[in-house]
Subunit: 169 residues, 2 copies
């Protein structure tokens, strides 16, 4: 209850400061919306923060890992994100069967960029920590790119990723 | 508007499902609060997601990086987090002068655990990417640990971290 009141107060403070003449100090005082790990790819999903964390979860839960590379100012990333977040089949499968990670910065692991560091790009990783370079989209020059119209192909690729590779581990 | 209605509906669904006899299916239907990058260490601060991202920002903004290792189920981490989030001097300095990152999983970089992988543990990194192993707390057996009562020492260490090392880069 107190928390609720505080939030309302803070919003009012933020509103009143934006209604005044905007200057640098006022902008700084505005209440920021806390950043989420989902970044809009599915607020109801549990996201890993880092690749190390995601690999740990994939191993311990024996689930495939889906890594989404994207950028906030890339229109292709934004349009893919929209259909990804709205597709109930994808969201359900991601929630129930995958470990998921979305990154706006590249990792140091070159296995996650088999044909370059473009965005949007989606890679699957086996719980045995093998990057599934065999699971690709439909573009020969950017094998791991997906357009919004490829969303069902992505769903089908998620189902493929659930059939684990037989490894020697 | 539609989004607002949907949220209300979802909350109602979540409420009604929690009021019934709890079972596994009902728990799954509850609306989750999206995870934040701050994890309670300062919702109004801009947090980096990964160490790679944090290093990129530190270099490009020429700011020192503060890395906080902690765990959600560690009482020492929780009590330090509380004073950290409530200390206005720390929050202001972190906001204005630092790149900040909080992690619940270790990175693969051994430089971030000079004397082990305990929590809570706070390391500073120079924009030249040198880990400031010289900036320590008051415990000889855990050089980078801080208790809640050490919060002003942490503030003073943040001020020290702002005086960059002279490196040959």
């Amino acid at each position: 209850m107190l928390k609720g009141l505080l939030s309302v107060l803070l919003v009012l403070v933020a509103l009143s400061s934006t209604m005044g003449k905007p200057d640098k100090a006022a902008v700084k005082k505005e209440k920021r919306v806390p950043q989420t790990l989902s970044r809009g790819w599915g607020d109801q999903l549990i996201w890993a923060q880092t690749y190390e964390e995601a690999l740990f979860w994939a191993r311990s839960k024996n689930r495939p890992l889906m890594v989404i590379f994207h950028l906030e100012d890339c229109p292709h990333s934004q349009s893919l994100k929209k259909v990804f977040a709205e597709d109930q089949d994808i969201q359900k499968l991601a929630d129930e069967e995958f470990v998921i990670l979305n990154l706006v910065y590249e990792t140091t692991d070159k296995h996650l960029s088999p044909d370059g560091q473009y965005v949007p790009r989606i890679l699957f990783v086996d719980p045995s920590m093998t990057v599934r370079a065999d699971i690709t989209g439909r573009y020969a020059n950017r094998l791991y790119a997906y357009e919004p119209s490829d969303i069902k192909l992505l769903l089908s690729n998620m189902q493929r990723a659930m059939k684990f590779l037989k490894t020697e581990l």
